[in-house]
């Protein structure tokens, strides 16, 4: 009997694949090509081989080398500060919300999730005003005399506060969905064996949500490497370039004030992509190995 061809999946997946190819895959390929060229967006790219990479990685006298190093270092600081908070806090909130005694779970969940829907520009403006010494609540209500954006570590603190405020909700939803799927019989059995809350969390909850944890860890880290809006809006890369992250340099080079240096910007972007790829693979490997 001849098997009937089922076209339905094609119609479901097709549009996404087309959009992915047009807006993600092909531009990525072109970006990689551009990284081997000298290109100002206006004229045709000129092939320069590995020159851009050589300059960025090894020419210590070059501005681009300095910018890349500074940008990568600042980005790594942001990743190191924000990712643990964006994993641990949502996890703790999700676990707390699963507790029987907690009321109005949907409301709390909504309140925590809503900041993630606000555009980063609007959120950064609001938080900048809150941290303004003259006009904000930190100065007027709490009497703080700190110029938050002008000195470290305060500049990082306000960026991280904004990031965590906006990012907690997304991961929390994933954890809640995963935790609610863990069999109650496991908890009941553990209770009969005398396990307390902490033991149950480490022995049942965490292993049961291993894959969502790996997923959020990898995705949150990759997202953190792409940080851009928060430092741009809140500190403009200062003080003394200490919050000037790599994406800010890349954008400045590609579409900055002067003529575009898109070839160099593409090379920096490719290197950033490689860093993200390596770290994500490592994270996946380590977490998955430890869990099995």
């Amino acid at each position: 009997m001849k098997k009937k061809l089922n076209l339905a999946p094609v119609f479901f997946v097709g549009p996404h694949l087309i959009l992915f190819a047009v807006f993600i895959f092909l531009p990525t390929l072109y970006g990689i090509y551009a990284s081997f060229t000298k290109w100002n967006l206006m004229s045709d790219p000129v092939w320069v081989g590995l020159d851009n990479y050589r300059t960025i990685l090894f020419d210590t006298e070059s501005t681009f080398h300095t910018q890349f190093n500074n940008g990568l270092r600042n980005t790594l600081v942001f990743v190191a500060l924000s990712v643990p908070l964006l994993i641990v806090i949502p996890l703790m909130v999700a676990v707390a919300l699963e507790h029987k005694k907690v009321k109005m779970k949907t409301l709390i969940q909504s309140i925590l999730y809503i900041p993630g829907l606000i555009s980063i520009s609007a959120a950064a403006l609001i938080w900048s005003l809150m941290f303004n010494k003259q006009l904000g609540i930190t100065g007027n209500v709490f009497g703080s005399d700190t110029a938050w954006a002008a000195h470290q570590p305060y500049a990082w603190i306000i960026i991280i506060v904004l990031t965590v405020w906006g990012g907690v909700g997304g991961n929390m939803i994933i954890y809640r969905a995963s935790i609610s799927g863990v069999g109650q019989d496991l908890y009941e059995a553990a209770e009969m064996d005398g396990a307390g809350s902490i033991r149950k969390f480490f022995s049942i909850t965490l292993p049961s949500i291993r894959f969502p944890l790996i997923f959020t860890f990898v995705m949150t880290t990759a997202g953190a490497f792409n940080v851009f809006g928060q430092p741009l809006m809140m500190t403009d890369g200062g003080p003394q370039q200490s919050t000037h992250v790599l994406m800010m340099y890349i954008r400045q080079l590609a579409f900055g004030n002067g003529e575009s240096i898109a070839g160099m910007a593409s090379a920096m972007a490719v290197l950033l992509g490689l860093v993200i790829l390596v770290i994500s693979a490592l994270q996946y490997y380590v977490m998955n190995r430890n869990a099995t």
């Binding site: 110029a147 002008a150 200062g238 579409f255 004030n257 003529e259």
Partner: protein
């Protein structure tokens, strides 16, 4: 079943056609006009376009406010598709765009409009569009860095005499050291980069020497040091604070902001303010670092002669009727407008009130100005606040500009 698939396919075709039709150029009877006016000024330009279209021209103008316009210009120029018929660009873009053969001379467009000529516009706004004797742009305005002052605070601190000669000097500002209440400051750091670039002119310097960028120079150092004195004396708003808002909340005597902020300041209840020149290192010379919005035509093979004529009509309408643009706080470039009695009602008319004031509106036209401005903006805050060594940072800035020039000018033409 077949019928159902056929119907679905038909609907899809119609939908896609509809979307594509919407994306296409709607007609030969529209001049597509791109501007980067994403702020309040976009609404004033909208009104100007609406007023022009109400005159029932054969070809109407369609104003498209384009965020990140220069990025989009790169894209459309590269692909050759969707290039606007008319656009507003900033003065500092002209040399680069001409070098890359991206601009059409404006002379064909204005051929039938005899009043669109140098004599009828502010001279420096007109001349920024002239490269090698060819006119590429028609100016809309000059937008300058200016200095607002708080009348009540000047009175309180007995500093009204600073304004006598229309030049507030650094020394006059320094004379207020130790005399201000806690939380009050003489000046803020709004548009600090432009203030530095103004001081370079005041000190008789420039940003280039023989066509090469000149950042690591004694004049640059002196310009930074003169402004740094104010900060060192504790008279500048603290680093990291919003000096613009501090002026509006009446804790700052002087604010070195743009003309365009006058409308926002006017909306602050109880803020009794005036406008003057940006402070200077000496009383003999004052400069208000400026730029200009310029009408220009990017190269576009699809632009017809009829459209070019329509653009000419529109630009002549703007020359005669751009008083609306004064509402946006800008110094209107058309002399017919800026010399009219109605224009005198606007605070920025101070800057066209005399030849000396007009001369003070300085626009840098060096080809690589954007890179120098980027370097100044990046480092000026830290230099003035004493966070970095000035000599070392000037070296870094010089290298920054040279590296970018070397890298950007290597693409094939």
């Amino acid at each position: 079943m077949k019928k159902k698939w056929g119907l679905t396919a038909l609907i899809l075709v119609f939908m896609v056609s509809g979307v594509l039709a919407g994306c296409g150029d709607k007609g030969k009877n529209t001049v597509t006009f791109w501007t980067p006016l994403t702020g309040d000024d976009g609404a004033y330009m909208d009104q100007l376009v609406k007023d022009y279209n109400a005159t029932n021209p054969d070809i109407k103008v369609k104003h498209v406010i384009t965020a990140d316009m220069y990025t989009k210009i790169s894209t459309v120029m590269n692909s050759g598709k969707g290039v606007p018929d008319l656009s507003i660009i900033h003065a500092d873009r002209v040399p680069g765009f001409v070098k890359q053969d991206m601009l059409e001379p404006i002379t064909n467009v204005t051929a039938a409009q005899p009043e669109i000529k140098e004599e009828n516009y502010l001279p420096q706004a007109w001349s920024t569009g002239n490269i090698g004797g060819t006119q590429y742009t028609v100016p809309l305005d000059i937008h300058a860095n200016v200095m607002y002052y708080n009348k009540d605070l000047l009175k309180k601190y007995n500093a009204e005499s600073f304004l006598d000669d229309n030049v507030v000097t650094v020394d006059e500002m320094l004379s207020l050291k130790g005399k201000l209440d806690e939380g009050d400051y003489v000046v803020n750091d709004a548009l600090l980069g432009w203030v530095i670039l103004a001081q370079i002119q005041n000190l008789g310097g420039d940003i280039q020497e023989n066509g090469k960028p000149a950042v690591n120079t004694p004049v640059f150092k002196k310009a930074f040091e003169s402004v740094k004195q104010i900060n060192d004396a504790g008279l500048m708003t603290p680093f990291g604070e919003d000096g613009y808002l501090m002026f509006q909340s009446q804790h700052v005597l002087f604010s070195t902001d743009g003309t365009w902020s006058s409308t926002a300041h006017a909306g602050v209840e109880g803020l009794n303010f005036g406008i003057t020149n940006v402070y200077s290192t000496n009383a003999d010379k004052f400069t208000n670092r400026s730029s200009s919005h310029l009408f220009s035509m990017l190269k576009n093979k699809d632009r017809t002669d009829e459209k070019e004529a329509a653009i000419g009509s529109f630009l002549e309408f703007i020359r005669q009727n751009s008083i609306e643009w004064a509402k946006a706080g800008q110094i209107v470039a058309s002399k017919k407008v800026n010399e009219s009695p109605e224009y005198k009602n606007y605070i920025q008319s101070f800057f066209t009130s005399s030849e000396e004031e007009i001369k003070s509106l300085f626009i840098y036209t060096y080809e690589y100005y954007p890179y120098i401005a980027e370097a100044v903006d990046t480092y000026c805050g830290d230099i003035v606040r004493g966070n970095v060594d000035i000599d070392e940072t000037l070296q870094t800035m010089q290298k920054f500009v040279e590296d970018k020039i070397a890298e950007s000018s290597g693409g094939a033409k």
